[in-house]
């Protein structure tokens, strides 16, 4: 790289910064904007990410990696059109050619945008600080990862089991600015520089004959909060306890869902938490009925839809729930003691339908309330039921009831008269989280769960933390047995 051709630090040595700093991003944005011809607005979105990865299977590391990449998206609004291109090089010639490409796109685009005169000034957004970054995660070296992996594998290997798992430390940065506002104050559709770290650790322990499988995992911004050794112990214990499962009749059972299982089931809810669009307002699980007089659909907002012991909320200041900041982000409660209290909406809806500012994002990160009953206590008070580790391959079947189907995985046990008696073959379930969350018998202490963002290029929501309790739920519907271990 020639001097002056962008951040040399990214590539010069192994100890160089693995992601772009704010200063580097600002400099790149300025260079891009400097290449623009023909006036108009230039938007630059710069994403950089680094992954330190370690994967193992059959008790041996199969691959350890250091990977990084950049994505630059340049958008030019010229005259009456807008064009954009994406690329991943930071040198002058590449950026300039990308700008030319975006300008060509602007010429060819169909949008005839013409801001009228006499418009109010753009509002300036304030972004709260959220807990996205952990030095502990960023500082983990390949050596440390290797040591950790060996420590996680050793107990399983010592007991003749096969451990497979994955460790990943990630750092990323994102900025999206406009030539019209390179610095504070930003407009609500800019993204001021943010950087984050994500750590994930998960493992599956199986016996050599494939008759049992146990899993444990955790993810979050801070590696310091993830106790890999405890996870490995749990996965091994579950593996041993799940060997030689027996077949059970499908049917409705009382289930004790570990926090991971609850979180897996909650994905059906989390994906449905938007206000229906005015033109399609009967859609989704939260539409109530049409109101002919007012020409709109009433919603279930304000109605009790879940057990009153369930409160689901998010506080941007919570150090355990750091997500990418949105303008004017506030604490939000989605379900307040079972009452549906908020549904996401965009800024246009906010201003037009509600006369408020700003919009409200969906359940990107959340905390779910619980109780103080331990899982052991739940087991002890169950006459007949099943203990579920987690669910897998969940698919939504019906958008109004959120009925879904999926599979239990990595540990399912029968409870009889307050004790775990047998390992059980996995089931397919057909159930709705809305039904389950209305059939709660007991709640436990909420804990963080495994909910990592898989794709490093996905910067819209680079962290998706959740804190979820274990639940005992009655009448959970299992519809068929599966052979998979």
């Amino acid at each position: 790289m020639r001097r002056g051709d962008g951040p040399a630090r990214l590539v010069e040595s192994a100890s160089s910064a693995r992601i772009l700093s704010k200063e580097e991003c600002d400099a790149i944005a300025r260079r891009v904007i400097g290449f623009a011809r023909g006036g108009g607005e230039t938007r630059v979105r710069i994403l950089s990410w680094w992954n330190g990865e370690l994967r193992w299977a059959r008790n041996r590391v199969s691959l350890a990696s250091d990977r990084r990449d950049i994505r630059v998206e340049i958008s030019r609004t010229v005259g009456v059109g807008r064009g954009s291109v994406g690329e991943n090089q930071l040198d002058d010639a590449s950026l300039e050619a990308a700008v030319r490409g975006a300008e060509r796109g602007a010429v060819l685009s169909p949008n005839i945008l013409r801001p009228p005169p006499g418009m109010p000034p753009l509002p300036h957004a304030t972004y709260p600080r959220t807990a996205l970054w952990s030095d502990a995660t960023y500082a983990v070296t390949p050596e440390t990862r290797g040591e950790v992996a060996r420590a996680l594998v050793a107990p399983a290997e010592a007991q003749g089991m096969l451990s497979a798992g994955y460790l990943e430390m990630r750092a990323g940065s994102l900025v999206s600015v406009s030539s019209e506002r390179l610095t504070d104050p930003y407009a609500p559709w800019d993204v001021p520089y943010a950087s984050w770290t994500q750590a994930q650790c998960s493992m599956t322990v199986r016996d050599a004959q494939g008759t049992g499988s146990g899993w444990a995992g955790l993810s979050g911004s801070d590696w310091g909060k993830i106790d890999g050794v405890a996870l490995a112990a749990r996965a091994l214990e579950k593996c041993k306890a799940s060997q030689h499962p027996v077949s059970l009749e499908p049917g409705r059972y009382t289930v004790i869902l570990e926090p991971q299982a609850v979180a897996d089931l909650m994905e059906l809810v989390a994906a449905s938490m938007s206000r229906p669009a005015p033109e399609n307002s009967g859609a989704g699980p939260w539409a109530l009925a049409p109101d002919e007089a007012l020409h709109l659909w009433r919603t279930k907002l304000g109605l009790k839809v879940l057990d009153e012991r369930i409160t689901i909320s998010h506080d941007p200041a919570d150090p355990a729930l750091g997500i990418l900041a949105e303008p004017w982000m506030q604490p939000v409660t989605w379900f307040d003691k079972g009452v549906l209290t908020n549904l996401a909406f965009d800024r246009e809806y906010a201003l037009d339908q509600l006369n408020v500012n700003p919009g409200l994002r969906g359940m990107v990160g959340y905390r779910m309330s619980g109780g103080d009953t331990s899982i052991d206590e739940m087991i002890a008070t169950t006459a007949r039921g099943l203990l579920v580790t987690r669910f897998s391959d969940i698919r939504r079947l019906d958008e109004k009831s959120l009925l879904g189907t999926g599979l239990t995985r990595d540990g399912l046990w029968l409870i009889e008269h307050g004790k775990i008696t047998k390992a059980v073959k996995n089931f397919r379930f057909t159930e709705s989280p809305l039904f389950a969350l209305n059939a709660i018998e007991q709640l436990g202490v909420p804990v963080p769960v495994f909910r990592p963002v898989k794709d490093p290029y996905d910067a819209q929501n680079p962290l998706t933390p959740a804190i979820v309790p274990p639940l005992k739920v009655r009448d959970f519907s299992f519809t068929s047995t599966i052979d998979a271990i």
């Binding site: 199969s62 990977r67 991943n88 030319r100 490409g101 060819l108 992996a149 409705r252 519809t479 599966i482």
Partner: protein, 540 residues
Amino acid sequence: MNLTRRNLLKAGALAAAAAAIPRPLLAQLGRTPEPLPPIDDPRLKALASSALETARAAGAVYADVRLTHSRLRTFWPVYTADDESMEVGVRALMDGYWGFASGPVWSPDEMARLGREAVHQAKVNALGKRRVVELAAVPVVASGNWVMPVAIDPFEISPFEVQDFLTSLDLYCGRIPDSGLQQNFAFAAVQEKAFASTEGSYCTQRFYRTEGSLIVRLQLTKERAGNFAVEGLSPAGMGWELYTAERIPRLREHSLREEIRRGIEELREELLLPVKPVDVGRYDAVLDAPTVASLVDKTLGRATELDRALGFEANAGGTSYLTDPFGMLGSYQAGAPAFTLTAERSEPGAVATVKWDDEGVAPDSFTLVKDGVLTDFQTTRESAGWMKNSYAKAGRPVRSHGCAGAPSAVEAPLQQAPNLTLVPGREAHDFDALVSGTARGIAIKGAGIDMDFQHSSGLGMGRVFEIKNGKRVAAIDSAGFLFRATELWKALHATGGEASLRRYGMMTEKGEPAERCYHSVTAAPVVVKDLTLIDPQRKA
């Protein structure tokens, strides 16, 4: 603009260049950055070699490097969006452990850094327990170059032509009463890849992938409405001819326009059928080609990945129901005697087709299941090594089948699915003929399949019809089917003929971190006996 003859001529000459995004990306081959050379430029070999030299100097017993230059172009009827990137990744083997390092910069300094880092990653794990890696031998490709043959390079034609074509489909669809296009866009990708290894191989290739989404909606009445995706536009190793050709063997028999018309006619007939609720039970089932392709892919297609079968995906997508790969080879009855599944990476137009895989191996054609019996697995150089004893017993050479791949050089190569083909039946039956030959049963079209994490049992949901006396007489509402992989293929009763084969491009996600790769599956419609029909929404 004045359309004078002179301007037109000048425009013609510049059209190809002008239509494309100007070459923006630079590579630093020597001291100073210069415009991106074609992938077979010899100076790139020197660049690649420098990474390998560094890796070797740092202690690697084997190392390889991939450089990729990828371009993506999305076409909508009124707009075209471009994306372009360069990546490089180095893999090193030391003391039985692999290390990998990758990034976006092609320069001598970066090659050195990556070479060192890859070895560093391997070294810190080599401190652990002993691990043995035997790479199956591969002929050295001292210097090779291959370009996937396409009739129309989608990056060289005017985006306007593409836009006009897409718009014309919209206009055509609008002529047909009650119908409209719900989705209409096309996507093209071209990737140039250079591969070099410390064994002395160096090869360069260019691959194309073109696909489209053309979803037609038919609304007869408020209640009777449905949509379908037009055949033949799933990912293909082809160029723009995927859209413009009048017919493409194994993809479609007619032009896209005609496929739209026929699809609407067929959907109209289906929407006018009486609707019945599910009568849970076991039925003889006629499955259309896309359903069969999905079933084949998600059962044996996944189960025969050797790394998966040995637990290397246990923490991600899961394992395989072929629980004892070495023991089952040559004896496990995976399906009926009429069931034969072959694999290759050479079929023209298929999307996993390459000249060399990501380890420099020229893939061969091989048979996974022959006459119902499991005969082979999908392998890379390392996993082929695991098959050493089994191959020796069967008198076969130990070689990788060439399944190594990754979406781009920034991801490490994994064993990815090759193209799969379910061998057709001998008689010239197609879907309608198979329906005609069924006295009582069900017909299933366009089902999506969910498998469990051992790929052994699954749930399918699609459009289901009741067959009576060889005719589809009713649509069955909210129906799905449950199956176990081996039972399903053992219950294979009839397979459509050669002319009814259809090829579908599939995308799979595998690995940690997750990688998305493409391959094609070719299958014919089939009849299976005793398929379990259920109402997937019925709770216990």
